[in-house]
């Protein structure tokens, strides 16, 4: 290690090539910008595939999709959606229960691109992590949001929600929403690294709850191959979710990452040169037979 500065993912790039080591990152960006593009295709090119925005949309004039986080707020505020919004929310709910709740955060939410950029810059500039509120803060924020809807009888949080405000502005071309984006960028860059997506966003908390039972999970099936390079921890937006799965051999814990906090972003798969992680179903959680770990083998070879 002496002399050369080690960068996260260097070994993976060497082992799998640049494309192989950025596969899921590229997929995510394609997904995030692709969804934006789909919404813009109508107003810009006149081709109406998707209409509306992420809170409620109509695809190809038949498929209604609605954000269950917003529809739940409406419900608590005292309005039972009369149109297709309930069906749309049910479809979206079902989808995220299959693919992982916070897939919304990593593959869909437009804010993610900005907070990822802030994190990259913060690490690049070696800024301090800053304020790191407790992990359950966002859950309390979620309680507060739903409580506010219940108490005021209106969707109070939707007057503030940066996720819906920014996406709506991106689709309908409304001004000044960039100030909201800038505020979040600054928060994540200088006040609290990963502050918004990692600690505060009540929407992420909501989708995280869905993820607690979701089918598609990342699993450290080949954890015996782990050589403790720590790249996955360095790149993961929610590093605490990795520990039980990757280091669970001693405590007889299965290799699947079951925490709802995991966003299924797949960056750990990208940066692992040893191919420890794969996407799999949550039930696929048998404890692998204990072979020698890479480290143990190394120790033995050295001896």
């Amino acid at each position: 290690m002496s002399g050369a500065v080690k960068c996260v993912g260097d070994e993976a790039v060497k082992a799998k090539g640049w494309l192989g080591a950025h596969k899921y990152l590229i997929l995510r960006r394609i997904s995030q910008f692709g969804i934006w593009g789909l919404f813009l295709l109508g107003p810009l090119a006149g081709t109406w595939i998707v209409k509306g925005n992420l809170t409620s949309s109509l695809t190809l004039d038949v498929l209604p999709l609605s954000d269950p986080f917003v529809v739940l707020q409406a419900l608590l505020a005292g309005h039972v959606a009369a149109g297709s919004a309930l069906l749309g929310a049910a479809i979206v709910l079902g989808f995220y229960i299959v693919v992982g709740g916070r897939v919304y955060c990593s593959f869909v939410c437009p804010i993610n691109v900005v907070t990822d950029a802030a994190r990259w810059l913060s690490e690049r500039m070696n800024l301090p992590k800053g304020w790191q509120p407790a992990r359950e803060t966002r859950l309390w924020a979620l309680v507060a949001v739903m409580g506010a809807a219940l108490a005021t009888g209106v969707m109070a949080y939707e007057m503030l929600n940066p996720v819906t405000i920014v996406h709506r502005a991106m689709v309908y071309g409304l001004g000044y929403a960039w100030t909201v984006l800038l505020a979040i960028f600054v928060l994540d860059l200088v006040v609290s690294r990963r502050g918004w997506c990692g600690h505060l966003c009540p929407m992420g908390a909501f989708y995280g709850l869905l993820g607690r039972g979701s089918l598609l999970r990342i699993s450290a099936v080949n954890r015996a191959n782990c050589d403790d390079c720590m790249d996955c921890f360095a790149v993961c937006p929610e590093p605490h979710v990795i520990t039980p799965a990757l280091r669970g051999a001693g405590t007889e814990t299965g290799p699947a990452i079951l925490s709802g906090d995991c966003t299924n972003c797949g960056r750990c798969i990208d940066v692992c040169a040893k191919d420890v992680f794969v996407f799999t179903a949550r039930f696929n959680n048998a404890i692998p037979e204990r072979g020698d770990t890479v480290m143990e083998r190394k120790d033995r070879d050295a001896a």
Partner: protein, 262 residues
Amino acid sequence: MDDTVKSLAGSASRRRFLAGVARAAGAAGAFGLVVGLFGRQAQSLPAVAIRPPGALSEKKFLSACVRCGLCVRDCPYPTLSLAGVGEDVPVGTPYFIARRYPCEMCDDVPCVKACPTGALDPELNTIDDARMGLAVLVDEETCLNFLGLRCDVCYRVCPVIDKAITLEMSHNTRTRKHAVFIPTVHSDSCTGCGKCERACVLDTAAIRVFPRHLAKGRIGEHYRLGWVEKEKHGGESLAPGMVDLPDRLPDELPDALKGWKP
């Protein structure tokens, strides 16, 4: 000894846990309060902003509208838009400003059909039944018809002509020999589309559309209009056998009134 240490440690960690929970609950409460207060404050709708046809009453609307903009997309005219950040209208909700572009009152009401939540009432099938707002002739001093001219533009453009706006003839007291035709709005037919406001030829419109709760008065519940009641009860007066009190007049009438009988 060991037990004492353990129990001390236990109570310390319990205290830490409780303090943590209290802190989190306090923070959540404060955050909820801020969200709630901000939400309430941001509810006020400026008088020029008119909701699309079929919109529920403002408070219900804000509990129902998910701000998706599907009504805006299906509006064939540039009428509807979504409120942006920093505008007076609650962020993301649909509205129109009549003077800028009024509602064209499509027969098939596409905006209502597009609404996925029922914030625009799906029961509204006929656009003439829409009550988006109410036109009010706010300035009699500048309205050309009040001045005795025959502008009539608001009356002519009204999609519910002769029902929502009528021209009521009366005497022109300035010239003493002409008539004035007063544009008169009838709330039982006015949809609040805003075409009259849009078309008003003045630099600043003399007729404007306001949300109905701002434009309409209400008679007290106990109040009865004698002539209406009489009609309802087949010509029978609301208070039959009313005592006819004697008319009180000065004992001696002035000369001019000699011979006058009440």
